[in-house]
Assembly symmetry: C2
Homo-oligomer: 120 residues x 2
């Protein structure tokens, strides 16, 4: 369970940066080298390397170096747990707001019944 929390920590943190989300989008299209990515996001190689390391740490990306070039691709971490977490909480949200909607409806009906015409 501790493990589970740590993984959520790492994944959400990895996703909280616009560049890293961009890298994931890119890799969804096609694999890429560090140089490719650095160029695309206008950043030094070192900077991009750090981002890739963060994504790799979170299991979102895997890399392999052959010759001088390190190729990055989407990792085996499929975001199921994160999707589940968000899904579960979306439901909580919805439930609470549905309840609120109902309350509002109820109050509206009540108001109509109490004072049928003279509301300013």
């Amino acid at each position: 369970m501790v493990h589970y929390q740590a993984r959520l920590d790492a994944t959400f943190a990895a996703l909280s940066d616009v560049t890293r989300r961009g890298v994931l989008e890119q890799l969804g299209d096609s694999d890429a080298s560090i140089t490719d990515l650095a160029q695309r996001f206008q950043m030094t190689l070192t900077g991009m390397k750090k981002h890739v390391s963060v994504l790799e740490q979170a299991g979102l990306v895997t890399t392999e170096k052959v010759g001088r070039v390190r190729t990055c691709k989407l990792g085996s971490h499929r975001l199921e747990e994160e999707a589940a977490w968000i899904e579960r909480h979306s439901q909580l949200w919805s439930a609470r707001f549905d309840a609120l909607d109902e309350l509002v409806e109820h109050l509206k009906r009540k108001e109509k019944a109490d004072a049928p015409s003279k509301r300013r």
Copy 2:
């Protein structure tokens, strides 16, 4: 579009802390004061206040102060966009891994055809 990215940044960052996720769970159950939450998560009032502020900034929580106590409840931000982002990328992931699975299947079949019996 910039706005959209900033919102994803803020939300994922807010969700990347185990205490804050805990607070959301708690508030899904029932509203709570800063004192309640600080006690539950063994933290100073000031510390909890900061977490609540981060959640509020991200729209995940709203608060209202009446008398001396500030009551916190789930906010109007329902995580739809975040769910959509993750969903979209889960699909990317799945697509790529389905392709991989197919490749593996293909190779298996090929192997069977090439060397029907003498594989060690």
